[in-house]
């Protein structure tokens, strides 16, 4: 690879805090890297661990989950579920040999546009360090 490796990251943001925070980054014209592409879910608790694996399987180099700060969940406790599931998944992925820097979780509130930009930068840096993700990709076998 001659050019510098640019990781592709899929982000799952909750509608009430982090998606609104990402919108605020836009409204305040806070520039960040285009590597992260956002999928809106109503709550970080909606994020099925399967989504993480699926994104990595599809070829994403990293995954980001972001929700409301603990205690601020619009649905009372969805972010706590998200955190527990994430911790388990994080360990499992590490166990099967996936660089733990590829999967990240953060709390970004609706007023933290600048923080969202930082989170993006951090996720990209980590995924860059981990290199292209091809461990889960189905390989063609030449008999």
């Amino acid at each position: 690879m001659s050019e510098e490796f640019e990781p592709n990251i899929v982000a799952f943001l909750c509608n009430w805090c982090s998606y609104a925070g990402a919108d605020l980054a836009g409204t305040s014209r806070t520039h960040y890297l285009p590597n992260v592409k956002i999928i809106r879910v109503m709550c970080s608790g909606r994020v099925n661990p399967l989504f993480l694996v699926n994104a990595l399987q599809q070829g994403a180099d990293g995954v980001l989950i972001s929700g409301c700060h603990p205690g601020d969940c619009h649905y009372l406790e969805g972010n706590y579920y998200a955190r527990r599931r994430f911790m388990l998944m994080h360990k499992l992925l590490e166990h099967v040999g996936v660089d733990p820097g590829r999967v990240n979780m953060s709390w970004v509130s609706a007023s933290e546009g600048a923080k969202f930009a930082d989170v993006v930068q951090e996720s990209v840096d980590k995924a860059k360090a981990a290199g292209p993700m091809d461990q889960f990709r189905r390989r063609q076998i030449n008999w």
Binding site: V10, A22, P34, I39, Y81
Partner: protein
Amino acid sequence: MNGYRPKIGVYVCHCGINIGSVVNVPEVIEHVSKLPGVAVAREYTYMCSDPGQNLVKEDIANENLNRVIVASCSPRMHEPTFRKTLKEAGLNPYYLEMANIREQCSWVHEDKEEATEKAKKLVEAAVAKALLLEALEEKEVDVIPACLVIGAGIAGIQASLDIADAGFKVYLVEKSPSVGGHMSQLDKTFPTLDCSACILTPKMVDVANHPNIELMTYSQVVGIEGYVGNFKAKIRKKARFVDVDKCTGCGVCAENCRLAGRIPSEFDEAVGNRGAIYLPFPQAVPAKYTIDPERCLQLSKGKCGKEGPACAAACTAGAVNFEQEDEIVDVEIGTVIVATGFDVFDAARKPEYGYLDCESVITGLEFERLVSSSGPTGGKPIIGRDKKGEGGYLPSKVAFIHCVGSRDESVGNEYCSRVCCMYLAKQAHLIRDKLPEADITVYYMDMRAFGKGFEEFYDRVRREGVRYIRGNPSEIFRKSADEPTVIVKVEDTLTGTALEAEHDLVVLGVGLEPRKDIREIIDLFKLSQSTDGFFLEAHPKLRPVDTASDGVFLAGCCQGPKDIPDTVAQAKGAASSALILMAYGKVKVEAQVSVVTADQCRGCGFCVEVCPFGAIELVEENRMGNIVQVALVNEALCKGCGSCAAACLSGAIQPKSFKDEQILPQIAVLGVK
């Protein structure tokens, strides 16, 4: 009806030049028009405008579109707009999907090529999801025609009166023993110099007497459940230890209290004193006495003098009741207005200003009580009185300091408190009025006289001989240990000279801060805070009184510092927002709720466990003679968060519009570079 085969219309918005100047829109159009299912792909300058929306409507009619994608701003901005467009064109509004290529693309990326590539991906992901969107049914439920207003300052009072006058029930809950809030503590109001009490007291009496308002003072909301239109609130009425039905407000009890005049009065900002049984101020509403359980000897120590409590003995009405207990009241309401106000900045957090060391350094709110004719000094600005309220002097060299605790990152408050410039100008005028010979200096950072009549008032105060020096004092300290005179060290930034001025009264223009117990309300109503710590409104421009929690509105300084006219205006706005729901009488409930595919459900109950709203239960189902358990969603309680779906092992329970089968295609598009 539209056929089953998806026919998608994609509309890419230029948003003037907001999107078009960064994202190459024609290139995006070209890319998406080749995608499966896309029948129409168009661009337009402003999709949200009437012609933009008509474009969609016409295509739905002429091209038989059955899915619509608008690639423009955030769905948090215009999803409702375009849902309405679809509805008006006879298409189910949930056949809409939006791609956010403004807030999350053109506004945050500079490189045109990269932004265009990303926009393509985002629209492609929307197409992938749109193929699998389903029509949803919007249901309406009745709105309980009652409103809970929390906080009875001027914001809560005004909102309550407006709603009650419109014929709806109001429960007005106030934490302290009287309504009135901070406004009742003020002497005059800028810039008109209206007497604060004169304009507020009639409204205070109105809320107490209005047939539609149930006033609950000395009470706090301790629990809330339900959803917009149908809330249930628990309110704790704290024990006053005085039977309000018997108390006549005569005040004999307070005169006889053994601690009379020995406890700093909260209302008088500790400039004056009260007893353990007290009325916060003469015009208090309700005019009923309250016993402070922490200070009362009988309640805190179990013994009051040799003869027992003197207040009870003196009360001819027999109203004092030491056995009284807190009472929990349940109310059902359709809407909520939060008007919990602010705290003033604690001047002790700026130790360089000597607030704790010098009796001649006071805060702006203490000054209000000093110059108030109903205050502890009868309106004379007497400084340095002893604990009995005797002695003291009238100041001759007065200083006012701007921006104490505002615009100051060192104390964590970056914002401007908006009222200090003008209240200090008003206070300078009051000193000029009461002490014509006094020398008055105002030390300011910037003068912000932005409101109606503000600049004129500021000019008037300067013409009255008030000196304005541009500079923020670095230090205020005693001249010597045995005299009240202090020295203010400041640099006049207009002339660049360092000054040391003597003053015998320094008034600190303390700013406004979020309530210290703001967390309690946040936890109850799931509200968010902005970076300044005040409550966050749903949209800074277009939804300034709404919150992210449907049916909960904001009024007054709990949302951010504001003066009285702005507070009243916002309170009226909040009242009108609550009235819209109650007057219409019905509200749409969340259509994006979870749904169970019973055949796939194994009845494990994991979803029941994780549901934060208790919306799922297991019911028995007869499957060809076998009784099995399956999950069932109560759609009225479900809010569509989807926690259940992530917990479900078989994928049987899914939130509508955010089903696995709708998200996975998005991942499939965005995961590939």
